[in-house]
Symmetry: C2
Subunit: 201 residues, 2 copies
Amino acid sequence: MSDVKSTSGNTIGRRPGGEDTKSQIVAAAQACFAQEGYDRTSLRKIAVQAGVDPALLLHYFGSKQQLFMAAMLPLFTGPQLLPGALEGDDKTRGLRLATLFITLISEPSVQTLLLGLFKSVSSENEAAALLRSFVHEAVITRIEPFLPGPNRGLQANIIGSQLLGIFIARYIVKIEPIASADTKELIEYLAPRLQAHFEHR
Amino acid sequence: MSDVKSTSGNTIGRRPGGEDTKSQIVAAAQACFAQEGYDRTSLRKIAVQAGVDPALLLHYFGSKQQLFMAAMLPLFTGPQLLPGALEGDDKTRGLRLATLFITLISEPSVQTLLLGLFKSVSSENEAAALLRSFVHEAVITRIEPFLPGPNRGLQANIIGSQLLGIFIARYIVKIEPIASADTKELIEYLAPRLQAHFEHR
């Protein structure tokens, strides 16, 4: 890292805790994006919150978009998460996916992060592009291999859209009764619907 | 229109063309809301576009919210639309609903109107409240009577969320391949999924 220059031109010293610094930045980014939305969060603000030089953010992540993806993805695709829910017994895949998704979106950190992204989304901007690659990367490409043919891409897309719709109805638009439905009841209802996607066509 | 007084408390005159004026206002409202989004559309702007006195809008519709609903609802709930798709043969209800929905949201007028509403939605504002009552009024209460028990409200809500998610994925976030999927292919895929909602549980 000795060759990273900040705007002042000063050299930033080598830090032994590179991975620690990265997780510190990711945690700060998650907090900032969640609080302010994507558009209104600057790299400088994240750097201040993480207690590091702003140049380090670019050094580690390349751009604000990439940092955002780095902050979002682990919340969905850690080994305990989507991959764990998808692998294993074919007969209960729908139930595992429903349980994971409904549980995930009821966590404040995930919720505020997605809300933060939605705050910024409109038809043709960077936030839309990010949400697009996020849903693609975090959900669609993971689900696709488990689907029966012939059009897995579209099928996975429909599942992703359905999950997106449930998040929006429950936490953004707050349509009743889904907004205040019991988590357990929602999972029970959703599980066989998701299961059907993996079994038919 | 010369005898219409708004705040002065005078009698509002009988107009022979009342229904025409109302449809003129609704058409102007649809255009304005679609173009500017809900928040940025004023009653005055709609009145100018319709060529009527702003007081007439309040006389006929009561408030901006109610005018918005009056502009949105006919696009979904006309007799040829949702009621027609839901009534009739049980076995093809999913197909009719899929066909109606995918066709509807590919119409520019419907699309721009929904986009206009989304532009304004954030978690706790008037646009969210409107989207909430719109989805409730236009979709959920219509679908509910055709569902098997026990929890029709939640079931109808899940269907509404799924459709909402598809609209958002296809036209706002533009996730591929759903964004550029063929209408026919999308209907074919969606139909049995929707049909399942009407048949199970």
